[in-house]
């Protein structure tokens, strides 16, 4: 996975990777984390979220994980998702790129660091 492969990364892809960077999560917990971390700007509903997960899994950035052993949840066992090594790398690359872009913007607005 190289940086060029992640250029198609959407804000939602990015937020999902970001949410998973702190540890494996199951579906609805991802939505909650994304909503929190984006300040409510991005809230994936069921269909959108799982299409993103499907894409990230088939790109090899995310993989299914065993959930925490103590988790007890009535009904069907939940599926947990976590970052692969490539996923961590892609998140880091994208973060760097966003950081550079943000810095450029600040410079142009004359608000950059001296």
């Amino acid at each position: 996975m190289t940086t060029s492969d992640t250029q198609g990364m959407s804000p939602l892809d990015y937020h999902v990777l970001l949410a998973l960077a702190s540890g494996a999560l199951y579906g609805y917990a991802i939505t909650e984390a994304v909503e929190r971390e984006s300040g409510g700007a991005v809230i994936p509903r069921a269909g959108t979220l799982y299409r993103v997960l499907a894409r990230l899994v088939s790109w090899g950035l995310v993989e299914e994980r065993a959930g925490p052993a103590e988790e007890s949840h009535p009904g069907r066992p939940r599926r947990w998702y976590g970052l692969t090594a490539e996923g961590r790398q892609a998140l880091a690359d994208e973060s760097r790129r966003l950081g550079e872009v943000a810095e450029l913007a600040m410079r142009r607005l004359g608000m950059g660091r001296p």
Partner: protein
């Protein structure tokens, strides 16, 4: 909701669905669940968001798959091939429909509206009427009452305690009996005081119904114990399991321990009851002739309702010798006839007829919609005559031709079915909130599996109904069409189309007449003079339980003072008190004696309430003779006011002022009549006025004590004064809850709500059917005009005037409509009879309504004919003859 989510999940490609489907559904559920906590508006918005999201992701995943997981290989057998062929056919049909978007959109919109309305009403009807009550062997449960023809008692009255006890002891046809009731009383927790609906049934009720609590156990009537509803447990106590064992003051202020929480589906006798305080009836409290208990029973095994009647009658008629009572009582009981009805009927009550009426109305709308779409398909098939003839000529068999025709209508109905589910899903909460209070299980109505099944079945049936006639028609293409290559201008097939328009017109007229009758009844109900004014009147109750209010005069003085405080508020014209606010509460039934006729055996049946202050002035009840109450009357017992009907019954043709009167509500306490007031309608606008005594609010014994009088305030600020009053009440009696806050206008609307709801629903259905009927007629005539354009062109070329051409087309439409109207009148005769129970002030065969409905139908029919007629008259002969 869950069904809809599952359905949308299923629309995703199989590979994606197999891997993520279950998770997606779970996610959507959690999403909606979480929004529900944030309030109804939020919940609706979230539902929409979730559904839109699932729909778009389903489409997106088909268009640009994100998931290419391995897919299991499947072998295909014969059935598989057939399925594949149908799928291919469906795909072809979808493409064909996509090529005529106008036709497709019109058909889908029509059918979706009709199916959606049917599904929503079915969901209500099914939950309220069809699903068996959640009790053991519900068919064995009966409601017991009595009737004494020829007596002055109502046609049907609740049993006396003595009958109840004897039935329980002696009736072998009844396995078990129980009493139940319904009242509103105070419930107090540390931070909340409210008046809530409660019931105090015989403890045998729970065993009789075969219900167990969700938590805890059934309360013991010997101890101060109570049960609460699942709804109360949720809303008041956040489903805290620690509720068991806690004690709160309730009902008469006694602190009772909560020993059980009932299950969610235990809603007896209705959804609103929150507390049950079981009791055990005490034979020592029997007072022969005191009727009015609600009694429910379970028939013994193998005994039916008819079979138990003779036994109950025999037992009841023995009551006087066992329990004593007056000679008048013994005489009445000799004519006693028991009434045994299915319990379900008693609980559902008057809702049955309107619900079935609505189901029938939306069913008619669906029929009309199907007729419309069937017509459109027939026209389409006709247009394709040559194409079909070619397919037949090169060897396609009829089965294939029918299949390819049917698949189009099935696709339409399938898509409509999905849209209908979405519509119903939004419509159900709206319908439920519009339905008047008091329907059992109404809070449990939802788009459940049965409603989903109904919707699926109905869309399939509708699809077949719309497509079958045109499909068979198309499967017999006229091969001669291949020979001359001409466009047919024959009238072949027009009979079927005309018949459909006739049917539509007839059905629409039936609905139109029915809704017309209801509109007339509605107007009549709102123009009834109830004897009081409903504009600018605000009412509320509060129950001061201050320790110093021990005796009647102190208590009355407290309220006189409160009235004075309210009277001083800005914008208040007058203030009064009444024990039972009309249209909100019932008055007590009493037996009335006069000084001229003091014999209890010949006393007159009447009603009693208590009033004070400027009650009559505030309510706009006119004082016909004498005067109303003064503040002195309120605190010193002795004076009373009577209603006109009571005065005329007691002293026909004579002056009631100054007479002495007594009733069973205050036995042996004689009052002087100081005024006669106009009659009022206590219960609703359909009833007769009660013969009523107004006592002053000061009481001489506890039997007549008012604990919670209704305040009636005449003010321009009726809609907005509540917060000011609440502040005043908090100041005067900080611990007393203020409740039953209404405007009289609001109470009137509530009393008329059953008719209002049915009327609005039927008017909507009639409007839809009228519109669909008009579209159908328009479609048929337009088609006829286009088919006859060559002939019309020739006529115009030969000098026919445009007005003549227009008349010709309109006449064709008018003929079809006239036949439809004729048949519709016959149907309307029946519908008037069917809804007779709902009507008020208008006869089922009201000529005015019939004429008006017919006129509307004819006008709409002519208007629908006029547009095609105008088009016909503008046909250019040259162009029309050049066609083909």
């Amino acid at each position: 909701m869950n069904g809809l989510v599952r359905l949308l999940v299923r629309l995703h490609p199989a590979r994606f669905r197999e891997r993520f489907g279950a998770e997606m559904a779970e996610h959507a559920r959690a999403d909606v669940e979480r929004a529900r906590a944030a309030g109804p508006g939020k919940a609706v918005a979230r539902r929409i968001a979730v559904l839109v999201d699932l729909s778009t992701s389903a489409i997106a995943e088909h268009a640009r798959p994100t998931w290419s997981g391995t897919r299991g290989t499947r072998t295909r057998d014969g059935a598989g091939t057939m399925v594949m062929e149908w799928i291919r056919e469906t795909r072809l049909a979808t493409r064909a429909l996509a090529r005529s978007p106008g036709f497709t959109a019109a058909s889908v919109a029509t059918l979706a509206l009709a199916l959606g309305a049917n599904t929503a009403i079915f969901a209500v009807l099914d939950t309220v009427l069809l699903e068996p009550m959640p009790y053991e062997e519900p068919a064995e449960l009966v409601y017991l009452a009595g009737s004494i023809p020829g007596s002055d008692l109502p046609d049907e009255f609740g049993l006396g305690l003595e009958f109840y006890l004897d039935f329980r002891e002696e009736a072998s046809g009844l396995e078990e009996v129980a009493t139940f009731n319904l009242f509103t009383s105070t419930f107090r927790t540390d931070d909340r005081v409210e008046r809530i609906p409660m019931s105090s049934p015989d403890v045998s009720l729970f065993g009789l119904l075969g219900v167990e609590p969700l938590l805890g156990r059934i309360a013991d009537p010997e101890r101060n114990e109570a049960l609460i509803s699942h709804a109360m447990w949720t809303n008041w106590f956040g489903q805290d399991p620690g509720i068991i064992g806690r004690a709160y003051p309730m009902m008469d202020g006694t602190t009772r321990e909560i020993v059980g929480v009932m299950k969610e589906d235990f809603l007896f006798p209705n959804d609103r009851v929150m507390v049950w305080v079981p009791n055990a009836p005490d034979p020592s409290t029997v007072n022969p002739g005191n009727f009015g208990l609600n009694v429910v029973g379970r028939l013994a095994e193998g005994v039916d309702r008819e079979a138990v009647l003779p036994e109950l009658q025999a037992i009841a008629r023995r009551a006087p010798e066992k329990w004593g009572g007056s000679a008048r009582y013994a005489e009445a009981v000799a004519g006693f006839i028991p009434i045994v009805r299915p319990l379900e009927e008693e609980l559902v009550g008057e809702a049955r007829a309107p619900l079935w009426l609505l189901m029938a109305a939306v069913g008619v709308v669906l029929l009309i919609a199907c007729a419309n779409i069937g017509n459109l398909f027939a026209v389409r098939a006709e247009g394709r005559g040559r194409d079909l003839a070619v397919r037949r000529a090169i060897g396609a068999d009829r089965y294939h031709l029918i299949r390819s025709q049917l698949s189009e209508s099935i696709v339409i109905s399938g898509v409509s079915g999905l849209a209908a589910l979405a519509l119903a899903w939004f419509a159900i909460p709206a319908v439920v909130s519009a339905i008047p209070d008091g329907l059992p299980r109404i809070t449990q109505v939802s788009l459940d599996t049965r409603a989903l099944g109904f919707a699926t079945a109905m869309s399939l049936v509708a699809g077949l109904a719309c497509g079958i006639v045109p499909a068979f028609h198309a499967s017999r293409p006229n091969l001669s069409r291949l020979r001359d290559g001409s466009r047919g201008s024959t009238r072949r097939g027009s009979f079927g189309r005309d018949a459909l328009v006739v049917a539509q017109t007839a059905l629409a007229l039936v609905l139109l007449t029915g809704s017309g009758l209801l509109v007339r009844s509605f107007q009549a109900l709102y123009s009834v003079d109830p004897g009081y004014e409903v504009e600018n009147v605000f009412t509320f109750q509060f129950a001061p339980e201050e320790a110093h209010l021990v005796d009647g005069p102190t208590w009355a003085a407290f309220h006189v003072e409160t009235m004075n405080r309210i009277r001083a508020m800005p914008g208040v014209e007058s203030v009064g008190i009444v024990e039972n606010v009309p249209l909100d509460e019932g008055v007590r039934g009493v037996r009335v004696r006069t000084a001229e006729n003091p014999d209890p055996e010949t006393s007159v049946l009447g009603s009693a309430t208590l009033a004070a202050g400027d009650y009559f002035e505030a309510m706009g009840i006119s004082v016909v003779a004498g005067r109303g109450f003064t503040d002195d009357d309120a605190i010193t017992p002795g004076n009373a006011v009577v209603s006109r009907t009571l005065a005329q019954t007691l002293w026909p043709g004579e002056d009631p002022i100054g007479r002495q009167i007594e009733s069973t509500v205050m036995p042996d306490s004689w009052h002087t009549v100081v005024g006669m007031v106009e009659d009022v309608l206590q219960y609703d606008m359909r009833g007769e006025p009660e013969p009523l005594i107004y006592y002053p609010i000061v009481f001489e014994n506890t039997e007549a004590q008012v604990t919670s009088p209704g305040y009636v305030i005449k003010t321009e600020r009726a809609e907005t004064i509540a917060p000011d009053i609440r502040a005043l009440v908090r100041e005067i009696a900080p611990s007393a809850p203020m409740y039953r806050t209404f405007t009289m206008k609001g109470l009137l609307d509530r009393a008329n709500a059953p008719l209002t709801f049915t009327m609005i629903a039927l008017v909507i259905a009639a409007g839809m059917s009228l519109l669909l009927g008009a579209i159908g007629l328009f479609g048929v005539l337009s088609y006829v005009v286009s088919q006859r354009s060559r002939e019309i062109g020739v006529r115009i070329a030969l000098g026919a005037e445009t007005s003549r051409v227009q008349r010709m087309v309109v006449a064709q439409g008018a003929r079809v409509v006239a036949i439809g109207v004729g048949l519709g009148m016959l149907g309307a005769l029946g519908v008037g009879r069917a809804i007779e129970g709902l009507l008020f002030g208008v006869r089922p065969l009201d000529p005015g309504t019939f004429v008006a409905a017919t006129a509307v139908m004819l006008a709409v029919g002519l208007a629908a004919s006029w547009f095609p007629a105008r088009r016909a008259s503008t046909i250019d002969p040259i162009v029309s003859m050049r066609v083909d």
